[in-house]
Symmetry: C2
Subunit: 337 residues, 2 copies
């Protein structure tokens, strides 16, 4: 049914590399016969990992790259100097059209810089944002921009709204996704200089389902499917989400262990609680897409395990099948008229 | 021991007014013989409420005000037009020196506007921020600015750091409070144009314990005692905190009720869990202080009950006893040399 697709995978990126990405590639190719995964990284290491599995040999290729960009390296320097790193080599493959998309769990800063400078932006896109899924009571919402552009301009945010909207509609199959502008109040006149201007611009757009401002406490209720903000607000929001969730879980665990009575109680609720907390597992939605680049780049979480890599690879397939980049290009360039 | 203090209380502000503020005043005066509470609002209504209690009559005064500012009223308009509202009259009492401080659970926007225009800023203070306490694993942290100035300048944030620091040290008795700048990364060069500049200014200050940037996920760990940010970031942070906490509690409750087994388990853990969740009750720290005004204005939560009002009133006593405004004035004006 589907067309052939080639996904480059940074085999050296992430805390569990190369084992987790390699195993993820194996899982993905077994499930999709039209998929080829191009594993980029140290050839010997990758071969050793691959030898552990039985898989369709013609669906996995290896491209050698001798260097690795590690956590905490200065982004610009890492991309400029480590020309033979798995990330840079993989990005060049994508840029050259030898792969349709890229999945990496590498250093976020380097992925962002490489995305802009090697994969490059789609024509008409002024800034490429990163979209990160957060759990809500109703499912999931996409924060755009979650980390790329801290000093964004109003017109950048309008593009984030369009791209996020296309992504949620086409990749996550949400019909007419509701777009909310992250702000400090519900009313149109609320906010800082940036959001006040963005509000007026979004209101005029016919091609998105703009529902107005959304406040921090409304996100987890699932009021909007796409949350538009600059990366400063987006980053603070996401990290707060993560921090509060962790603190909560920690306190609950401590509570359960605090007495004999509560330990017994904990045994009884454990099953249902595990089920509930699955809501907070957003890995099923894949990694965070960098939107507006010439090809899809998916940033998987640094501690991704094999199934998360497989999901991110499958995410690239739906992205391509749904022609998300073509639609983004068309909509963005209509904007510029 | 302590000196006489007069606290004005907006008897008509908040969801549970006038019952809750009036009862709060009664609780507070019974505990502090040097305290006089000036209840401002509709005289008849207040008298009717007061008649329910037995209390030292000479410690509660009533000042009549015929109007009430309600939730959702446009802040500037409400302050300009409702000259005989409980909030405006109470603020004028403070400005005239007839009360040392003000507690109100009224409309936040109106409180901020009235604070700036009626109570007015302390000499040298360029913007008056609102400080809101958030729970952490170690106790509590103060977010300044949590809601007053959405487009703040670098020098405003430096003053927020100084004022927040004095407040945490003197009112909450935290020795040499750690001041963190809310940002998107740990490194000095991270952030947007505003935070990069603020970082350099805070680094130079000898009179605060600046520990560098703090990220959203580090707040609930208790890494800093004072979190400095503009009100846009502060508001998003706070509302997110509130939203995620609520979603968590809701899901946990649903889990407990999901099966017979989990219901039994819930009964066993309930006691300990209640104890744990007390961590998230920040009302014990009082209301949110507006800092940098000529007198302390405490914004109590809209749904405050009587004990919360009593705590906020006591907060005014410690604020005055610790001479927080005098110290702020001195430190801020040293800045300006």
């Amino acid at each position: 049914m589907s067309e052939k697709i080639r996904v480059a995978l940074d085999a050296m990126g992430g805390d569990l590399a190369p084992a987790a990405p390699v195993e993820g590639a194996v899982i993905a190719v077994k499930e999709n016969k039209d998929l080829t995964v191009v594993l980029v990284g140290k050839e010997d290491t990758i071969k050793a990992e691959l030898s552990k599995y039985d898989y369709p040999k013609d669906q996995i290729e290896i491209v050698n790259a001798t260097e690795v960009i590690v956590t905490g390296e200065p982004p610009v320097k890492s991309i400029q100097e480590k020309k033979d790193s798995s990330l840079v080599v993989a990005m060049k493959k994508v840029r050259a059209g030898e792969a349709d998309a890229l999945v990496t769990a590498g250093n976020t800063g380097s992925v962002l810089v490489g995305g802009q400078t090697i994969v490059r932006r789609e024509k008409g896109v002024s800034r490429a944002p990163i979209g990160t899924a957060v759990p809500t009571e109703k499912g999931v919402a996409l924060i755009v921009d979650a980390g790329a552009n801290v000093d964004a301009k109003p017109e950048n945010l309008v593009q984030f709204a369009i791209m996020g909207s296309v992504y949620m509609e086409k990749a996550l199959k949400i019909n007419s996704p509701k777009v909310g502008l992250l702000n400090v109040g519900a009313e149109e006149e609320k906010g800082n200089a940036l959001t006040k201007e963005v509000y007026q611009l979004l209101k005029k757009r016919k091609d998105i389902n703009f529902i107005g401002n959304i406040e921090g406490n409304e996100i987890s209720k699932g009021k909007a499917d796409v949350i538009v903000c600059d990366a400063f607000a987006g980053n603070i929001l996401l990290k707060m989400y993560e921090g509060v969730s962790k603190t909560f879980l920690k306190l609950i665990k401590e509570t359960f262990m605090s007495s004999f009575k509560s330990k017994i109680g904990a045994l009884l609720v454990k099953g249902s609680l595990k089920e509930t907390l699955k809501v907070f597992d957003v890995e099923k939605y894949g990694g965070a897409p960098l939107l507006g680049l010439s090809a899809l780049v998916v940033k998987a979480h640094g501690n991704s395990k094999a199934p998360a890599f497989a999901t991110a690879i499958k995410q690239c397939i739906s992205f391509k099948e749904a022609k998300i980049n073509e639609i983004i290009r068309e909509k963005i360039n209509m904007t510029e008229e």
